[in-house]
């Protein structure tokens, strides 16, 4: 049965569906809390993330002396370090995703819009790059050129754009067939302005889903590097680096492992749920 077409726009429809998705809403709440805590939290504690205090090593989580989540083997406060690590992890997540977003959208939209041989060559390049074990190259980069946060951004962003390029290209190809694009082309609008004014805005939905699913991937990858000892350098820290330290001492001080592990897992969990909810909201055929 068909229903009468209702006047709601795609966007407000999606918003309504997202609002009825309790798991996604809860995730947004938890994630917001983690982000705010990472930004503001360190100021609430009398401690900082790098001062070593040999009079207070291996302290389990306690209210005494404001070591709410305990201390590590150098007497550094874990509450502050975990949130400080969160700042770095989240920042890498956002920035590297932005890098891959810009490259991916530009590349994918161009390939999809150009079509034909240009598209063929551009996508063949993507195919070839897909087959590269990039993770290993990033590891090599870290080893050779030192642990440089900027390098992490670039390296991770440069890998992740491939997915984005593919998705955007597919969408652009489909969009190109739509009458309103056809009309813009007939009226002689230049390709660049058609891409910028008509194609890119219509990609917002897919891009939003992609962003929420890429950020956790990036955070995960940075943590992976840090865990191998190839991420951010001491005394700066990230969740991955903290998990690494915690894993080394878990017999003696399990909180050093559990606290950053919970932060990392909770963040990834929330991002994944939001991404899922967003995708269902924009394309509700599976629900």
């Amino acid at each position: 049965m068909e229903q009468a077409a209702h006047g709601r726009s795609l966007f407000s429809d999606a918003l309504r569906r997202l609002r009825s998705n309790k798991a996604a809403l809860a995730s947004i709440g938890v994630l917001g809390f983690i982000v705010v805590a990472a930004v503001v939290g360190p100021w609430l504690s009398p401690h900082n993330y790098f001062t070593q205090d040999y009079g207070a090593i291996w302290i389990a989580p306690t209210l005494a002396d404001a070591h709410w989540l305990g201390t590590d083997g150098l007497g550094r406060d874990l509450f502050v370090r975990a949130l400080e690590g969160g700042r770095i992890s989240l920042m890498i997540g956002f920035v590297a995703t932005l890098v891959s977003l810009i490259i991916g959208v530009a590349y994918g939209a161009t390939a999809g819009y150009a079509g034909g041989r240009v598209d063929g060559v551009m996508m063949r390049i993507v195919d070839i790059l897909y087959a590269m074990p990039f993770l290993f190259f990033v590891i090599l980069l870290m080893v050779f050129f030192g642990r440089n946060i900027l390098l992490i951004f670039v390296a991770i962003g440069a890998i992740n754009w491939l997915d984005m390029a593919r998705i955007v290209r597919g969408q652009t190809l489909a969009l190109k067939q739509q009458p309103f694009i056809e009309a813009a082309r007939m009226s002689g609008a230049p390709a660049v302005s058609i891409i910028a004014r008509h194609i890119v805005p219509n990609l917002l939905g897919v891009v939003a889903v992609y962003i929420t699913l890429t950020i956790p991937q990036v955070i995960l990858f940075e943590s992976f590097l840090s865990f191998l000892g190839l991420g951010v350098a001491e005394p700066a820290t990230s969740w991955g680096a903290l998990i690494k330290d915690g894993a080394d001492e878990m017999g003696r001080a399990p909180w050093l492992l559990i606290v950053p592990a919970v932060f990392l897992a909770a963040t990834l969990f929330c991002f994944n749920f939001i991404g899922d909810g967003l995708r269902d909201a924009l394309d509700p055929k599976d629900r």
């Binding site: 049965m1 068909e2 229903q3 209702h6 569906r17 009825s20």
Partner: protein, 272 residues
């Protein structure tokens, strides 16, 4: 009465509220009889027959009654247990659908798909089932059936696939064949072939036909009686000829007007 449907109602729970698809359908079908249900898409005609078969989606609400006459007495189909319905489907009531390109499983050989229904309802296995399946393909006039039974669906044309569907549907000698827009997706010439085949097989097997279509021309050649549905309700019903000559409802007149003028419907019916 072979099938007796009374006050059948179908509605769907959707995120935007309840949508009523069928608002009270009454239908009687005698053994060997042929009835057409005509209406535009969204008129509730497909939902009605899917409800009889228990094949609607989970969010469907069905009420009313539909009794099927069986060897062991009258059987209520609406709300029947899944296992009971499984014995009826394919055995007593068989169904063919609109798009033969998607209604056969692309991953399985034709042999598998015909034999499984023969095995299920007639208890034949192995070589006996294969033999029966080949006979069915022969009956629907597929050339070289012994070889083609090994084909996958994509190796057949659209018309051939619909023949396979018909072979599958009639494999267990059902009492009722429900055909949901059986020729809509086919080329015009192929449509005629399929309709001729259905008429011939009906004559031979005396299966009752419930033909669902938007095309009054198709109904004219196949059916004795006719129901016109619109917005989930029956707006007109009766024998074919009177309706074609003097449609009572404005909507039926519109439908009739849509039948190409030059091609006058031929009223010679296969069963008469």
């Amino acid at each position: 009465m072979l099938l007796d449907v009374r006050d059948l109602k179908v509605s769907f729970d959707t995120p935007d509220g309840v949508v009523e698809a069928v608002r009270g359908l009454d239908l009687r079908l005698a053994a060997g009889e042929s009835v057409g249900i005509v209406g535009e898409s969204g008129s509730g005609k497909s939902q009605s027959v899917l409800a009889l078969m228990g094949l609607l989606a989970d969010n469907a609400r069905v009420s009313g009654s539909a009794t099927l006459q069986t060897d062991t007495g009258a059987l209520e189909l609406i709300g029947a247990k899944r296992r009971v319905l499984e014995r009826i489907r394919g055995a007593r009531i068989a169904m063919i659908f609109q798009d033969p390109m998607t209604t056969l499983n692309p991953h399985l050989r034709i042999a598998t798909q015909i034999k499984e229904v023969i095995t299920r309802h007639r208890g034949l296995r192995g070589r006996a089932a294969t033999k029966a399946a080949i006979e069915m393909l022969e009956a629907v006039k597929i050339p070289d059936p012994a070889r083609r039974i090994r084909y996958y669906p994509h190796q057949f044309s659209g018309g051939m696939r619909q023949r396979v569907m018909i072979a599958m549907a009639l494999a267990c000698e059902p009492d009722i064949l429900i055909a949901d827009e059986p020729t809509t997706a086919l080329d015009v010439t192929v449509q005629a072939d399929i309709l001729d085949l259905m008429a011939e097989l009906r004559q031979r097997t005396n299966v009752a036909l419930l033909l669902i279509t938007h095309d009054l021309g198709v109904v004219a050649g196949q059916c004795e009686r006719l129901l016109v549905m619109r917005h989930g309700e029956v707006v007109e019903r009766g024998a074919i000829d009177p309706i074609f000559e003097a449609p009572a409802h404005a909507y039926t007149r519109d439908l009739l007007a849509a039948v190409p003028k030059l091609e006058t419907p031929h009223f010679a019916r296969a069963s008469s």
